[in-house]
Symmetry: C2
Subunit: 447 residues, 2 copies
Amino acid sequence: MILDSVRRLLRRGAITHLERMVNKMHPADVANVLHHLHTPQEKRTVFELIKVEGNKAQVLAEMDEGDVTEILADVSSAEIATLIRNLPDDDQAYILTSLPEERSQEVLRLMKPEESAEVKDLLKYEPQTAGAIMTGEYFALPANTTAGEAIRKLQQGEPENVFYVYVTDKEEKLIGVLSLRQLLQVAPDRTLGSMITKDVISVTPDTDQEEVAKQVARYNLLAIPVVEKDGKLVGIITVDDIVDVMREEATEDMLKMSGTKIEEEETIMTSSILNAVRMRAPWLLTNLFGSMISGLILWFFRFTIQEVVAIVTFIPVIAAMGGNVGLQSSTLVIRGLATGRIELSDVRKVFLREVTIGLLIGLLCGVVGLAVASVMHINLTLGLVVGVAMLCALVVSTTTATITPVVLQRYGIDPAIAAGPFVTTANDITGCAIYLSLATAFLSYIK
Amino acid sequence: MILDSVRRLLRRGAITHLERMVNKMHPADVANVLHHLHTPQEKRTVFELIKVEGNKAQVLAEMDEGDVTEILADVSSAEIATLIRNLPDDDQAYILTSLPEERSQEVLRLMKPEESAEVKDLLKYEPQTAGAIMTGEYFALPANTTAGEAIRKLQQGEPENVFYVYVTDKEEKLIGVLSLRQLLQVAPDRTLGSMITKDVISVTPDTDQEEVAKQVARYNLLAIPVVEKDGKLVGIITVDDIVDVMREEATEDMLKMSGTKIEEEETIMTSSILNAVRMRAPWLLTNLFGSMISGLILWFFRFTIQEVVAIVTFIPVIAAMGGNVGLQSSTLVIRGLATGRIELSDVRKVFLREVTIGLLIGLLCGVVGLAVASVMHINLTLGLVVGVAMLCALVVSTTTATITPVVLQRYGIDPAIAAGPFVTTANDITGCAIYLSLATAFLSYIK
């Protein structure tokens, strides 16, 4: 509804109205409206209406990368440097990585050294790792600080969001953690060192963000500390950023499963059409050649087909059913591996389960196939061939669909990427091969 | 690794070892180990090793529903009542809903009225709504409380996790909110009413949990208040529960897209095989009949096929490519709608974009098809028919794949459910129809 009003005001050129409206909105809502406006020009017009500089910066921090790129395309590097200077370091890093490399370097040069030091540290890390999404702004104190002193520090402001108090030694190594609540409930003269939890769940800067999300979800954390291999505390990742990571990773997995090689969810709508084609084409071409193998199999059996043309009726049926049952199995396994519901050590159990399911569904569909084929072509032998081929195809299909993601995972390849292409194509091919071999073997009875 | 050790100790019957180990583990880790053990018997053995009652309860709260059901199957209702009595109300509700209806009623009867009052309230709400996942344990104070008084209240304990201070009027209506940090930074004699933010983002008890997650993610909240239509505050939902909701919803969507009607992710491994077949069969049978329509089309064109059997080579190719390109488009649209990246008002833009992509990919695959068909069968006309059919099939396929989820969403049907079955089957059918009609039309030239 907000979006519709903004569009209407834009169309009418009612800029004063629009300006009043935009400046009353939550930055996240402004970011959302900007995302849904159609042209970069419209986006920039609305963005420029935000009066308070800090709000502008917050809107940028809430936007998708693609939108940030579009909106900042015309803004000078000096302006960007001023705009983002008061943002938390992780938001700065996010905006800078959305810009082309040379531009972000220029912005960094234009920032004061003391303003850019922290964000420069973050930019060193690989994208999608703990290091790249953490913030260097956390609340850490030495072990001999008293609770009273800690509370006073807290009251002085900075950092903005405090979830836990981290306790470090002289070398900044993390030795323990306590919650804000614990801090408030003890006598003011107690030292932090005497009340910390020492088994701290933490990650290293190179931990994959998906793994970070798993840890935070499993242990219900509000923030997770990032420590170097030597134990030095270098940052924290807060749960609100984890929420974004989870959404992003789920999207990525779904798109990968449908054979779209996509790195960032934001590119769904903002990347150029040619770019989209480039991201989708690799699997499609793989699949094109894969399905041609099915075609070759049919060609190989062309004399069977010519002799009993009724056989063609069930080619699409067996091919489709193999693909579908396989897709269900591989989705279950891929998702289970991604969420940790299935571990590699459960594989045998899952495998037996899926194969049994394939067998039961195969029997069900096989009987239906047998019935339809027998009645339609008044040919019981063809019906039997269809039924048995269906059963075999579905069992083979659940088998490959369960094994493929597990094997890929074991070799360190993301199972979501390859399940789609491999499994669908493989099942098409085996389905056709099984069906036509059977039909050829029993050709003299079918005729 | 923990899991492997537990399994080894179980196998060796080294119960004392195992007991020591289990009692040192984080409840979430115990829950994870229990999930991966193979038999209900093993799960119960390990669960009974937990000595502290409170830890037992926490492990239950961290487990999947299916696991809870299995583990509590042998535990008496009276024991369950004692076990869960000190858990937060939302965790109690979670465990009770995992039990069969009569059992959970029995447990409620066995709890003291003052212990069961809150959880009974929660159980009234529909599953997967804000009401069902909220907790009644939040920190709410009247507007005339001073900051000093509020801090004292906080120091007395209860409720356990405080994210925000909610300020209510005499009728318990929510009038504003402030952060813990704000509370700590003002003079102790200031009243809460003078420092609250009044525009509170909230949900009602019947809001769908997916919508709650969207709000929490969009506004980076740590907790969201749940208020009745008349403004009365009845509960809050904290971000750690939202993290679980997000994982669950993403899994649900993926499984729905692969045609598995699954309600709870936990059923992936724990539901019975027959149950799994029941959940997967509906789409498979729809698809079985759908693909038979493709078969009927081939049967209808059997004379064409018999005359130029080379035509069969490209049937699987065109059917598969239509399905694949369609799956990519529908996944993009479904996921975009689910995350709010695409809104219904963006439809025209997305539609034009997808159709253009379909056209480009169609051209690309069409040319490959043309080339292969011409060379393989030394028949340029067949090549042209294959190429043109491919192009048409892919454009039709992106079109239906983009429109179907949008139409379903508009009519209030979850787009994820139907995109798989409808789109794949429809594309198979139209692909076959287009290809064979074209081939028949140009039959005299192909021969």
